[in-house]
Structures are given as structure tokens and as C-alpha cells.
Amino acid sequence: MRHRLYPLSDLEDIPGTTVFTARRSRQAYHLHKFCMSLMEAANREAFKADERAYLDRFRMSEEQKQAVLERDFPRLIDLGGNIYFLVKLSNTDGWSAQRAVSSMTGMTPDEYADMMSAGGRSPEGLKSIREQQQREFGGEGK
């Protein structure tokens, strides 16, 4: 076994960020099967005609189905989803990728677009949950 450059748990240390691991991929397998099915025009039509009935073709959890119906992208990420699959859904809806992504930030699409045009979100202060906590508690941990 090679030397580990950092503990794997550090992957959980990035604020507002969910790393797509093998385990999450397994959790979202049927959700993602649904997403990839939208790569065919006929399936997109069937989905649009009756979303619930179309979703019931897949072995997704009820929570995952609800989150799809509500286009609740943060919840879908929580339930194992990965954005590269999920944009098949927002593309089907005719959303831009920017609108789909902005829906996870708590900003309106316009606010988000303005932030991007102004140079995007700076990573400063958003790199480590541990660091954020240390700052919050006045750096006593030094």
C-alpha cells in the first residue's frame, strides 16, 4: 500500500462540497439510470407527458423521485446524485447549466449570473471546514 498523502476523511472537509465516491455512486445508481435515459428524445417525451409514471419505471427511492419532481438539486446531491448525470434532467427542462447550478446556491439565477460575470466566487475562506471553525472560535485552537 502506498503512502497516503492525506486522510480520506479530509475529502469531507471542503465547505459546501460533496465528493462523489464509489458509495454515493452506488446509492444513486437507479437515479442516474433515470437521468441517462433522458438522452433519448422518446424518453424525454414520455417523461414530460407523465413524470411520476415515468419515474416509477426506475428502482429509485421515493425520496429520489420526489426530489426529481421538485427539481430539488441540493437534495438530489444529498441522495448520491452527481451533477453530470443531473444536468440531463435540467437540459430536458431547457434550463441552462448555469441556471441548474445556481439553484444549489441559495441565489437567484440573476444574482448568480452577476456573481459569475464579476469574476465568480472566491475560494478564500471556503477551503476547509476545520479552518472555518477555528476562525469562528477565535483561533483558540492554535
Partner: protein, 300 residues
């Protein structure tokens, strides 16, 4: 013998593809992006290769669900543009080069890369947007393309160091292909961006520009890039900024030193920082034997 004549690095933002397909390249929003590609579009006219080895990542279009390969090489005669949910992009079918792809796959397995061969894949914006950026909107693409797909999404992704070694091995493989053809290697994706969660919209110009600077440098600069961990990429450049590992495959395939012909950086395109470089292997007396021996020693 075949030769690697140049390398191109570029972002492959899907919205850039849409802007091209919908004729919006002169819009206020888009004009500054496309201005950065004027150089390459002129340059490539006199520098069209026979084959491009195009390192990209599939965005859950042909892989990632039932099959998740670390490194996959496209071995078909042709590759159709994928339908990513809005219909396939209106671009030509991509024509492969099965003979060179087979040769490279063979060499890579001998060099202890555990390659996956794909005989049937649709290619998504990760592959077609760079072609559009460089070649415009022709009836047919002016050269063959070998897709080389890298897993950058499902953890753990291959390390920067592993990608570097892959690039070196690709160079060796091309250089022992018996036909006298010109090959370019392209690395696509990035630069900094994050497409998920409350941190979405992250852009890291400092990280990106340091990356570009070191990419153009010799072994001192590139050895720093090889040491960037997966965690570093995510923290510093966003969950999708890790796509930059594909630029390292391209860079390693150039050999130790390069001449940078063009560099461009712009924020934003949709959710993403756009980066683009054109480089050539530096003319040099390559101490070829010594170099190969040194690498062999580390390959156990």
C-alpha cells in the same frame, strides 16, 4: 515514424458549444471568449495533424453509469456526438484511427497501464467543444481523432502523477508507431469551476494562472503540478477543476521542455474559468536512451 508535433489545452464548457451552434459567438458575453481562440484557428490551418489524441472526460454520457473506466481509449471507426438531453450537437461525426489506437493500447498495457478499450462510444461536449473551438464549423473534421477518456468524477480519480506518466507513455507509444504521421495531443476540461452545492460558482484565478505558468515551464514547474493531490484540486479549483489533470497528460506527452505559442485566460464562460494554451515540444537533442533507461528504472 510518427511524431508528436504540438499540444493544445482548452476548457470544454458546454455553453461554449451552444454559443457556436446557435451563432452567438459575436454576442457581448461571448466575443471575449472566442477572441482567445483566434490564434489557434489561424495557426492550425498550417498545422493540421493527421491525428489528434484527445484527452477528455465523459460527462455521464457514454460511461460512468454501468461502466466507470479510469482510462478508456476509443477504438471505433467513428464516434457520434452524444445527445446530452437537448439533442446531439450539430457537428460532424468524429472519425477514429483504430490502427493507431490499437497500437497505443498495446503499448500502454505493456507499460503497465490497465487501459479499457471502448469499441462503441458517443462523444459528448468534452470532446466536441474543443474540436469546434479549434476547427470551427467544417463539413467534416480535418483530421482523425482518438478519444482518450479519463475518470475525473467518481473518486478516486487517477492522480496527477499517474496522468503525467500516462502522457509520457503515450509519447513513447506514438514515437514507435511505424507510419510517418503527425500527431497532436490535446488536454481538455477545467479550469477552476464547481458545479454543485453552496460553493458552486467558485473561480480561482490565482490557482489557474499558476497552473498555466508551470505548464509552460520545464521540469521544475511541471514537477510541482505532478504533486497536486486530488484533495488540493477540489479545495483550490473546485470539484470540476480537477479536470485539469487531463492537461497534464497532454503536457507530459510534449517531453521535458516546450515552446508556448499562445496562452489565454478568461472569466467566465457560464460557470467556468476558461483557459487555453498551444505549445510545441522544444527542439532538443533528446538523450533518448538515457531518458528511457531512467524511466525504466522507476517502472520496476
Amino acid at each position: 515514424m510518427a511524431r508528436i508535433t504540438a499540444g493544445i489545452g482548452t476548457s470544454h464548457v458546454p455553453a461554449i458549444g451552444a454559443a457556436i451552434d446557435l451563432g452567438r459567438t459575436a454576442d457581448d458575453y461571448w466575443a471575449p471568449v472566442f477572441a482567445g481562440y483566434e490564434f489557434v484557428k489561424a495557426w492550425v490551418k498550417d498545422n493540421t495533424p493527421d491525428v489528434v489524441i484527445l484527452c477528455y472526460n465523459d460527462h455521464a454520457s457514454a460511461m460512468m453509469l454501468d461502466i466507470v473506466p479510469t482510462f478508456a481509449i476509443g477504438f471505433a471507426e467513428e464516434f457520434e456526438p452524444a445527445d446530452e438531453g437537448w439533442g446531439p450537437r450539430p457537428v460532424p461525426t468524429v472519425i477514429g484511427h483504430p490502427d493507431l489506437a490499437g497500437h497505443i493500447a498495446e503499448q500502454l498495457v505493456i507499460d503497465e497501464f490497465d487501459i479499457t478499450i471502448m469499441n462503441d462510444i458517443a462523444v459528448d461536449h468534452g470532446l466536441t467543444v474543443p474540436l469546434s473551438l479549434v476547427f470551427g464549423q467544417p463539413e467534416e473534421w480535418p483530421c482523425k481523432v482518438i478519444p482518450l477518456a479519463v475518470n475525473v468524477t467518481q473518486f478516486p480519480t487517477p492522480s496527477a502523477e499517474r496522468c503525467w506518466k500516462l502522457g509520457e507513455a503515450i509519447r513513447d507509444a506514438v514515437e514507435c508507431y511505424p507510419e510517418d504521421i503527425e500527431v497532436q495531443v490535446w488536454g481538455t476540461g477545467g479550469m477552476s469551476h464547481q458545479l454543485q452545492g453552496p460553493r458552486a460558482g467558485l473561480i480561482a484565478p490565482e490557482f489557474d494562472n499558476a497552473f498555466l505558468e508551470r505548464l509552460a515551464a520545464g521540469p521544475d514547474g511541471t514537477s510541482e503540478l505532478r504533486g497536486i493531490t486530488r484533495l488540493d484540486f477540489l479545495r483550490e479549483a473546485g470539484t470540476e477543476g480537477i479536470e485539469l489533470i487531463m492537461w497534464l497528460i497532454m503536457r507530459a506527452a510534449m517531453g521535458p521542455n516546450v515552446d508556448e505559442l499562445h496562452r489565454f485566460y478568461h472569466v467566465p464562460a457560464s460557470n467556468t474559468a476558461v483557459g487555453h494554451v498551444v505549445m510545441k515540444p522544444k527542439a532538443q537533442f533528446r538523450h533518448k536512451l538515457g531518458e528511457v533507461e531512467a524511466r525504466k528504472a522507476t517502472a520496476a
